[in-house]
């Protein structure tokens, strides 16, 4: 007997009382409420992200004004957004990515209520590794990408893509429950919220 058959056989035997689950009550707030940019900004700041309200043509200068050195960009990032120091990711080695000053990407969705940005590895966001190793992550967000709450984000996202949900910079509370920003992921998260 394979272990699969063994385990499934055990589970079926364990359920010999044939329990029937009642329908799942979904009385919680459903997707579809309007999203508030102010709530998003408030939550981002609360989790120590920095927020900049910019126009498209200010992205490159904003980034250049905040970091010195190479800025990794995914291959599909709009050209107009790229700072002079942009290094497009064409399969860069991990060392090269880790040595960069920052990474600049777009996003897939943002959740106002939780201050969360979700990346889905689309061409304007790139491979997961590029937003992981640099110490500073700049993330450009369009207002239309902001949704009210978690159910809206789940409905919009495609589970077949690799997804990274980001709420503030990396943090730990492992030492006496003190929150320390920045352990292994980027220690600084800058959200560039587009004025559109």
């Amino acid at each position: 007997m394979s272990s699969k058959d063994l385990i499934l056989g055990r589970v079926r035997a364990a359920l010999r009382d044939a329990p029937v689950a009642p329908p799942v009550p979904r009385e919680y707030r459903p997707a579809g409420r309007p999203a508030s940019l102010d709530v998003l900004v408030d939550r981002l700041l609360d989790y120590k992200a920095e927020v900049h309200r910019v126009r498209q043509d200010e992205i490159a200068t904003t980034v250049a004004g905040l970091v010195d050195g190479a800025v990794i960009v995914p291959p599909g990032l709009p050209r107009a957004w790229r700072p002079a120091a942009a290094v497009p990711d064409d399969g860069l080695a991990p060392d090269r990515i880790a040595a960069a000053a920052a990474v600049l990407t777009a996003a897939a969705v943002a959740v106002a209520e939780t201050g969360t940005i979700v990346l889905d590895a689309a061409p304007d966001q790139g491979r997961r590794i590029i937003t992981l190793l640099p110490d500073v992550h700049f993330c450009v967000l369009r207002p239309a990408q902001v949704v009210a709450a978690v159910p809206d984000a789940v409905a919009r996202l495609d589970p077949r893509r690799p997804l990274t949900w980001i709420s503030g910079p990396s943090a730990t509370s492992d030492i006496e429950l003190n929150r320390v920003e920045g352990v292994h992921g980027p220690r600084h998260l800058h959200v560039l919220l587009l004025d559109e």
Binding site: S3, K4, L6, I7, L8, G9, R10, V11, R12, A13, A14, L15, R16, P19, A21, P22, V24, P25, R26, Y28, R29, A31, R43, Y47, P94, A98, T114, G115, A121, R127, R128, I129, L132, V150, P151, V154, A155, P159, R160, R161, P162, L163, T164, W165, I166, S167, P169, S170, A171, T172, S173, D174, I175, E176, L177, V180, G182, V183, H184, G185
Partner: protein, 475 residues
């Protein structure tokens, strides 16, 4: 007991970390004498309770979310065989390989073989209860494979040659001075001028692990959720070590208890709201990674999912006890438990401490091997109120007490337990009074609604230290 093929089986002896060397009262004795430990624990649990209560109060639909979470888990258990087969099919279709492990020994053997096949003698690990449960690190070590824990707290535990004492904050029993000493003693290449400032300690861990992340080709993780209808796995974390492990290596091996499966992608909308708020007291944890099989050119190109039984089928076979498998390991029940706050996590002798551990450990091993754990509770009910998936832990404890063997040697423990069990009735009365007081308009001192119900209770019936100690001493 003879095990028949195909019959639900408990977790085997001699492997893994589900059984303590001592009974709960004996093990708790030392912890009660350690006032530093108790101070650390009290500070930690009080802090998390406060944070959690605040962000839960922000959601007007916390109770409906709990109802949905509980109902989804009930549905999962009722349809477990079908969901597991669907998960296997979807993960396989997305390029992953699914393995089935009947118990800890088989899971350890599978993972060891998979690591050996990569040729690597080192793996990086992201904190996972399942792999601690089966004693995977020990098994890998025996096979000559080094397992590096990358979660800061797990690293503190590993470098301190210690055991985790909390599901979420495994080094909750260590304060900053102790952590600094451990790092100075055990961390290769550490700066001798290291201070005990938490950011400095975190930065030391970052430096120490960075090179390891970049040079290790195999990672091992657990999973918080697996979605049957899409084949998606999810890992929820804070520090970014999870992202490192789930993104950088060539090979990823995920070990997951069979009860972790969820039916649909949409179900995540419930659990991603429940887990962070109940667990770390955040609106959302800093990082959550979700992946479906293998994505060409992005992340690990070899993905293995190991589905683990190890006693879960035995838990499932008890209709009155199976709801313990709803647990999403948030640790809220630990943080509100007056017994946990005093005894600490080690006293439970299992990777699953606190109220849920007092239930789940004896269920997984068979009650005979953890007979004292169902008594590690005052039945005050705070755990039930705090649980995001509404597991009625007090009723499960009572149920298990009735199941426990009562041989001669146990009689003394029973008598002692009975003595402390008289107390909670007093406390229950106090709690009821507290609730009335709150309804009458005097707010509980602890958390804002909806948690004030139990904080009001918690503040009043502070377990009298002397009585509690008397009880242990009289053992």
């Amino acid at each position: 007991m003879t095990t028949f093929l195909g019959m639900p089986a408990t977790a085997p002896r001699g492997v893994g970390n589900l059984r303590g060397e001592q009974t709960f009262p004996a093990a708790a004795h030392d912890a009660l004498a350690d006032s530093q430990l108790r101070r650390n624990l009290r500070h930690a649990t009080t802090t998390i309770r406060g944070k959690s209560g605040k962000v839960i109060a922000e959601l007007p639909d916390w109770q409906p979310l709990r109802d949905a979470g509980s109902a989804i888990k009930t549905d999962v258990l009722a349809r477990l065989p079908e969901l597991l087969e669907q998960l296997e099919e979807r993960v396989t279709a997305a390029g992953g390989v699914v393995h089935w492990a009947a118990d800890a020994n088989e899971a350890n053997a599978i993972v060891t073989r998979l690591v050996r096949e990569t040729g690597s003698d080192r793996v990086i690990k992201v904190k996972s209860m399942a792999t601690q449960e089966i004693g995977l690190n020990e098994a890998l070590e025996e096979a000559g494979i080094a397992a590096v824990e990358t979660d800061l707290a797990e690293l503190i535990v590993q470098l301190g040659h210690d055991k985790p004492s909390h599901i979420l904050v495994p080094a909750i029993h260590r304060n900053r001075a102790e952590i600094r000493e451990i790092f100075l003693r055990e961390m290769p290449g550490v700066d001798p001028a290291l201070t005990d400032d938490p950011p400095v300690l975190a930065a030391a861990a970052r430096r120490y692990l960075r090179e390891t992340f970049l040079s290790t080709t195999v990672a091992i993780s657990g999973a918080n959720f697996a979605i049957a209808d899409t084949g998606t796995l999810a890992v929820v974390e804070s520090e970014g070590n999870g992202r490192m492990c789930l993104t950088l290596p060539d090979t990823l091996i995920t070990v997951m208890g069979i009860e972790k499966v969820l039916p649909t992608w949409q179900d995540l909308e419930v659990f991603l709201q429940l887990l962070p708020r109940a667990s770390t007291g955040e609106r959302m944890n800093p990082y959550t990674t979700m992946w479906t099989g293998v994505t060409p050119g992005d992340g690990p190109q070899n993905f293995h999912l190991v589905l683990l039984d190890n006693g879960r089928s035995a838990v499932l076979s008890d209709p009155a006890g199976r709801s313990a498998l709803h647990c999403i390991r948030c640790s809220a029940c630990l943080n509100v438990c007056p017994v946990y706050e005093r005894a600490g996590g080690h006293a439970y002798g299992s990777v699953y401490p606190g109220p849920i551990g007092a239930v789940l450990s004896p269920q997984l091993t068979g009650i005979a091997d953890n007979a004292s754990l169902p008594y590690a509770s005052s039945l005050c009910g705070a755990c039930f109120d705090a649980c995001p998936v509404k597991i009625d832990i007090p009723s499960l404890l009572v149920h298990l007490r009735n199941e426990a063997p009562h041989p001669r040697g146990e009689r003394a423990a029973m008598a002692a337990a009975a003595r402390i069990m008289d107390r909670p009735r007093v406390y229950a009365a106090a709690q009821r009074a507290a609730k009335l007081a709150r309804i009458a308009g005097r707010r509980g001192r602890g958390l804002p609604p909806p948690l004030s119900g139990w904080t009001a209770g918690r503040d009043l019936p502070e377990f009298p230290e002397q009585t509690f100690r008397d009880w242990w001493a009289s053992r």
